[in-house]
């Protein structure tokens, strides 16, 4: 991929709310070209979506719990882990699925309304899937940093208002 596209993606990754006009100016390109590139990158699914990172804790009406499940799987002939991973992805409770190296195979992140609900989901839906050998559930107690952003970071500008 050419350098301009990479810079465009980096800028969008940081802040997708930036206007295409500002983006075009920053990258020194015509706005039309930037729009075209974004469209193209969306079409080929390099850009998969635009997500907002929210600290739901602060809203006061969030009782959701998050858990990370280590899943051991028996890989299948020809397709390896892909088919089972795709099946797990389809559950809306599942937020992310990664194939891992090391002691287990899939790392599955699940969000539910209570610990009980998550536990039942694992016991009834996940563990019972064919090819799943075992699961280990770890509940998330507190989030400190996600996607490169530190929750509650003090970002005060400590510089003097004017300096030479």
């Amino acid at each position: 991929m050419d350098d301009v596209k990479v810079r465009l993606l980096q800028a969008l990754e940081q802040n997708h709310r930036i206007t295409t006009k500002a983006l075009a100016t920053m990258l020194n390109l015509p706005e039309k070209e930037v729009k075209g590139m974004i469209k193209e990158l969306e079409d080929v699914k390099v850009i998969l979506g635009y997500i907002t990172l929210i600290d739901w804790e602060k809203t006061g009406n969030n009782d959701n719990v998050t858990a990370i499940i280590d899943v051991k799987v028996t890989p299948q002939r020809d397709v390896g882990f892909d088919i089972i991973a795709e099946r797990i992805c389809r559950f809306p409770e599942v937020k992310s699925v990664y194939l891992m190296s090391g002691g287990y195979d899939l790392s599955v992140m699940i969000e539910g309304t209570s610990m009980k609900q998550v536990a039942f989901f694992v016991a009834e839906k996940l563990a019972t899937l064919e090819n799943v050998q075992s699961t280990a559930t770890h509940f998330v107690l507190k989030k400190y940093k996600q996607d490169g952003i530190i929750f509650d970071e003090d970002q005060k500008d400590r510089r003097l208002v004017i300096s030479p």
């Binding site: 920053m26 208002v161 004017i162 030479p164």
Partner: protein
Amino acid sequence: MKKSMEELPYSGIRKFFDLASGMRGVISLGVGEPDFVTPWHIREASVYSLEKGYTNYTSNCGLEELRREICRYLFRKFQLEYDYSREIIVTVGASEAIDIALRCVLEPGDEVIIPEPCFVSYKPCTVMAGGVPKSIFTREADHFKLRPEDLEKAITPRSKVLLMCYPNNPTGAVMIGKELQAIAQVVERYDLLVISDEIYSELTYEGEHVSFASLPGMKERTVLVNGFSKSFAMTGWRIGYTAAPEDITAAMLKIHQYTIMCAPIMGQMAAIEALKNGEGEIKRMAGQYDQRRNLIVNGLNQIGLPCFEPRGAFYAFPSIKLTGMSSQEFCEKLLKEEKVAVVPGDAFGESGEGYVRCSYAASVEQITEALNRMEKFVERHVKKRKTVYAVR
């Protein structure tokens, strides 16, 4: 108090600083330092050194490991070969470096040629060292570069030093190899010493920075000044350095030794980490500045404050002549009416009158909002002015 001290003016920024620092809700494009904090790996290295108990003096000229790293860096970047043991001093910021360089070469009455607009300390430091500052006004039409013919015209029998800074604060001007070469010829012909402040060398956006010392025959007559403040976002650490011929280094070291002793060790430990592993962070930050540069230069031109394209540092230097105001007046009114702080150009010398310095070491959101406010301001005042003319 001695008379010359009473006569020495405060920095032109000071008055404006007092005005701005009392106000709330100000967007500042008036800051001469990165908006990034020092990269974590550098801070962490310093914390680790404190935990290990590195709290002592270092040798006067700085930690040997740091001086070795500085030499490797200068070679890697500019193909400059310096001897870490005889030609490098680690200083308390580039500011100290400029001071000791001037103090160790000037006899009373010696002239220091300074292209303007320039950093606020050059002229006062020259005066304090017993020298006489001689300004050369650079022009927007020349993109604020120093022209060899102007340099030649400024030379008198008392001329001793050329003190210059490219990439430049406050204009953002850079000089490319060919242009520096022409300056070097004049320098050689008139046997000048050059103090080359290259603190913004890493913030060069088109092409590579050329160090003045790397030009043929110039290393022997150059005090190269650089540091960590701008490139590594390490302003508060106060670590800079000089790279200079052995005899000048020895003389500078005497002043440094008796007045400073040594630069703080925690900053020196951080600087070692910066040079060893900081290249990626430099690139990342410079990339960000470059995008903001496009944003601000384009924006300023669009709102009617013509601005030449700065190719270095993190400043835009638009002309405000169309508003009919002086730089001071423009900045005061802009601050009071729209709460945007920029620095009056005349704070950087007489030749900066008619311009203001806008730092783009600020977030994209801040720059965008500041431009919006400035647009309203310009519209209001330029329109008003036009009406006045019409009535007349």
